[in-house]
C-alpha cells in the first residue's frame, strides 16, 4: 500500500453565487521514499491539494489515506495529532518563532507531542547537527541567514519523525545558490529514507525531484518521472 492514496478528490469553494472547483476529481498515489513535486500556476489547485495532504483542510468528496489515516473522517483534534505525528511542514517564509532559539524552534512540535524536555533537547540538537547547524543552536532566527533559517525549519519538520515532509515553495524566499543547497539537503534526506513532496510553481525546482505531478484548473495534467540527467542539471 502506498504512503498516500488519493481517489477522486474534489474541493469546492463557494464565492458568492459562484462555486469554484479548486480540485475537480484528483487521483494519484505516492509510495514511501518518493521525492516528488506538485507544480502548477497559481489557481491550479496545488495549494489546496497541499493543505489536504497536510491535514490542514479536508476534501469536499473523495477519499484520501495518508500513512493509514483517513483524512476525510478526522475531527479537528485528530487532525492536530495527525499533523504533529505524521507531517513535517516546510514553508516558503520559514515561519520560525522569532523569540525562540534555533533549538527551541526545533523542539516546538515535540512540545505538542508531549515529549519530555530532556529527550526534546537531545533530539533537536541531533537534528540541527544533521542539517549542518550544530554550531548555531542558541541563535535566534534574526541572527541566521535565510538558508540557515530554512535548515532550522527542515530540522523542525523532521522533529516529529514524520512519515511525510511537505514543503511549500521551500526555495521561494532564497537566492538561487542557497535554493540549490536546500534542494540538495532534501535529496540527501530522501536518500536516507524520507518521503518528500514539494509544492512549487518553479519547474527548475521540480526537476530536482524524482517525479513531477503537474496541475492545472483543479486537474492533474501530467504525472511523470524526471530523468536522471535533468535532475543532475538542477543539482549543479
Amino acid at each position: 500500500m502506498a504512503l498516500i492514496e488519493a481517489n477522486n478528490l474534489t474541493k469546492l469553494y463557494r464565492m458568492g453565487d459562484e462555486t469554484v472547483h479548486a480540485l475537480a476529481g484528483v487521483s494519484f498515489a505516492i509510495p514511501q521514499r518518493d521525492y516528488c513535486a506538485i507544480v502548477g500556476p497559481s489557481g491550479s489547485g496545488k495549494s489546496t491539494l497541499m493543505n489536504i495532504l497536510g491535514g490542514l483542510d479536508t476534501p469536499s468528496s473523495g477519499g484520501i489515506t495518508i500513512a493509514g489515516n483517513d483524512i476525510g473522517e478526522m475531527s479537528d483534534d485528530d487532525l492536530a495529532v495527525f499533523r504533529n505525528q505524521t507531517i513535517g511542514f516546510v514553508f516558503q517564509s520559514f515561519n520560525l518563532l522569532p523569540r525562540l532559539t534555533a533549538l527551541e524552534n526545533v523542539e516546538l512540535p515535540m512540545i505538542y507531542g508531549g515529549v519530555l524536555p530532556k529527550e526534546r533537547h537531545e533530539r533537536a540538537a541531533a537534528l540541527l547537527q544533521r542539517v549542518g547547524l550544530g554550531e548555531r543552536m542558541g541563535h535566534r532566527p534574526t541572527q541566521l541567514s535565510g538558508g540557515q533559517q530554512q535548515r532550522v525549519a527542515i530540522a523542525r519538520a523532521l522533529a516529529g519523525q514524520p512519515a511525510l515532509i511537505l514543503a511549500d515553495e521551500p526555495t521561494g524566499a532564497l537566492d538561487t545558490n542557497t535554493g540549490i543547497e536546500i534542494l540538495g539537503l532534501f535529496s540527501q534526506l530522501n536518500k536516507e529514507g524520507a518521503t518528500i513532496v514539494i509544492v512549487t510553481h518553479d519547474h527548475d525546482v521540480a526537476r530536482a525531484t524524482k517525479r513531477t505531478i503537474e496541475m492545472r484548473d483543479g486537474h492533474i495534467v501530467s504525472d511523470e518521472l524526471n530523468d536522471r540527467s535533468a535532475r543532475h542539471d538542477a543539482n549543479v
Partner: protein, 411 residues
C-alpha cells in the same frame, strides 16, 4: 497535548516579550484590586471601631435616661407632655430591680466639678454611682479599690479616678491615698479605674466616680436634690432576655409615671441593638465602597481583554504555525487563557500588597483598627484570577478557532 510546565513557560515567555505592555495591562487590575482591598479594609476597620466602642460601654446593658427620644434622636425636655430631666427617681431604679432577668441596676447622677490636686486642676465629669455601676458597665479597678455600700450610704468623701484624670492630676505618683479638693471639700482617692479608651469623640476615662449620695448632697447642687437620678444602668442576665427586659422596664416606668405609650418621659436605650444597627450601617457603607472599587477592577479586566485581542491579531501567524505543528484548539486556548490569567493574578497580588499598605496608611491616619482577613486577601486574588478567566476567555477562544490556513497566509 501540551505539558503544563511547557504551557506555563510559554505564557511567561510571551508576557516577557512585551514587558511594558504587560505591566500596563496588569496595572488596571493592580489599581482595581488595590482599591477594593483598601476600601474594604477601611470599612471593616470603621465597623470594628464602632463595635468596639459600643461594647466598651458594657454588655447586655440597657440605659434608661429621662426625656423621650424623638425619631430624629433629640431628647425632649421639660416642655414635653410628660415631664423632663427630673423624671427618673431612685424608686424607679428600685422598681426595675424587682423585675425578672435583671442582674444589676445602677442609678447614677452626673455632675461637673473642678478637681484640684497638687496645684493642678482638671474638669472631669463626676458621676455619682452605686458600687454596682462597675458590674453594669463591665469596668474594673486598676489600682486601689471601689467604695462599698456602706460608704455610699454614709455619703463618704471617697472617689475613684478615671485613667485620664489620674494621669493628669498625679503624673508621677500613685494617686491612691492622695486627697483632692472638689467644690470646696476634700476627698480621698481610694482607687483608679482601668482605661476604656475613646468612645466616638468622648474620652471614657475622663471621669471621677463618687458615691451617689455624696454627689447628690455635695456636688450636683440644685439638680441633685430630691431623689431624682440622671441615668439608670440596667444589666440583663443574658443577651437573650435583653429585649424582653427592655419592654418590662418600659412598662414598669409607664405604670409608675402614669404615661401612655408614645408620651413617655423616659428613654430606654438597648446598646446591643444600637450596636447592631451601627454595624449594619457601616457594613452597607463598606459594601458600597467595595462595590465602587470593583468597577475599577472590571475596567482592568476589559484592559486585559483588549490587549489579548491585540495580541491574538499580532500573533495570528504564530497561532497558524503552532496549529500546523500539531497544537490542538485546547492547547491554543490554554496558552492564551493562561497569559490573561497570569497578567490578572500578578496584578491581583501586587494590588493586594498595595491595597494593604494603603489601608494601613489610611487607618493609621484616621486612628482606626486595621482589619485585613486572610479570607479577604484570598478572595481578592481569586477574584482577580476570575477576571483573567472571564476577560481572557473570548480572545483565547478567538485564537483557538483561527483557521490555520488563513492564519499562515496572514502577513
Amino acid at each position: 497535548m501540551m505539558r503544563t510546565s511547557d504551557l506555563i513557560s510559554s505564557a511567561g515567555r510571551a508576557l516577557r516579550a512585551n514587558p511594558m505592555r504587560s505591566a500596563l495591562t496588569a496595572l488596571g487590575v493592580i489599581i482595581g484590586v488595590a482599591s477594593v482591598v483598601a476600601m474594604v479594609a477601611l470599612g471593616s476597620g470603621a465597623q470594628a471601631q464602632v463595635e468596639r466602642s459600643i461594647a466598651s460601654l458594657g454588655s447586655n446593658l440597657l440605659i434608661v435616661v429621662p426625656g423621650a427620644m424623638r425619631g430624629g434622636g433629640g431628647v425632649r425636655g421639660q416642655a414635653g407632655a410628660g415631664g423632663g430631666f427630673d423624671s427618673l427617681t431612685l424608686d424607679d431604679a428600685a422598681a426595675i430591680a424587682q423585675l425578672e432577668n435583671v442582674a444589676v441596676v445602677a442609678p447614677s447622677q452626673r455632675a461637673r466639678a473642678q478637681v484640684i490636686a497638687n496645684g493642678a486642676n482638671w474638669n472631669p465629669e463626676v458621676n455619682g454611682v452605686t458600687p454596682d455601676f462597675l458590674i453594669a458597665r463591665d469596668w474594673n479597678i486598676a489600682q486601689g479599690r471601689m467604695f462599698d455600700e456602706t460608704e455610699e450610704r454614709q455619703a463618704r468623701r471617697v472617689i475613684v479616678l478615671g485613667n485620664t484624670v489620674a494621669i493628669n492630676l498625679f503624673p508621677n505618683m500613685d494617686p491612691v491615698g492622695q486627697t483632692v479638693r472638689m467644690n470646696g471639700g476634700t476627698y480621698e482617692v481610694i482607687g483608679v479605674l482601668e482605661s476604656k479608651g475613646q468612645s466616638g469623640f468622648q474620652d471614657q476615662d475622663d471621669i471621677v466616680l463618687a458615691p451617689l449620695s455624696t454627689v447628690k448632697r455635695r456636688i450636683a447642687g440644685r439638680r441633685g436634690r430630691g431623689d431624682t437620678v440622671s441615668q439608670i444602668s440596667v444589666k440583663a442576665q443574658s443577651e437573650d432576655v435583653l429585649s424582653r427586659l427592655q419592654e418590662d422596664v418600659e412598662n414598669t416606668l409607664r405604670q409608675r409615671h402614669r404615661t401612655r405609650e408614645g408620651e413617655d418621659d423616659f428613654t430606654v436605650q438597648n446598646l446591643s441593638s444600637i450596636s447592631e444597627t451601627m454595624a449594619q450601617t457601616t457594613g452597607v457603607f463598606t459594601a458600597l465602597l467595595g462595590g465602587i472599587s470593583a468597577v475599577s477592577l472590571l475596567v482592568g479586566g476589559i484592559g486585559i481583554m483588549n490587549i489579548m485581542l491585540v495580541s491574538v491579531t499580532e500573533r495570528t501567524r504564530e497561532i497558524g504555525l503552532r496549529k500546523a505543528l500539531g497544537a490542538r484548539q485546547s492547547d491554543i486556548l490554554h496558552q492564551f487563557g493562561l497569559e490573561a490569567v497570569t497578567l490578572s493574578v500578578a496584578g491581583g497580588i501586587i494590588g493586594l500588597v498595595i491595597g494593604v499598605a494603603g489601608a494601613w496608611g489610611m487607618t493609621t491616619l484616621f486612628n482606626l483598627p486595621l482589619v485585613v482577613s486572610p479570607l479577604n486577601a484570598g478572595l481578592a486574588i481569586a477574584f482577580s484570577g476570575l477576571v483573567g478567566v472571564v476577560f481572557g476567555a473570548y480572545p483565547a477562544w478567538r485564537a483557538a478557532k483561527l483557521d490555520p490556513i488563513e492564519a499562515l497566509r496572514r502577513e
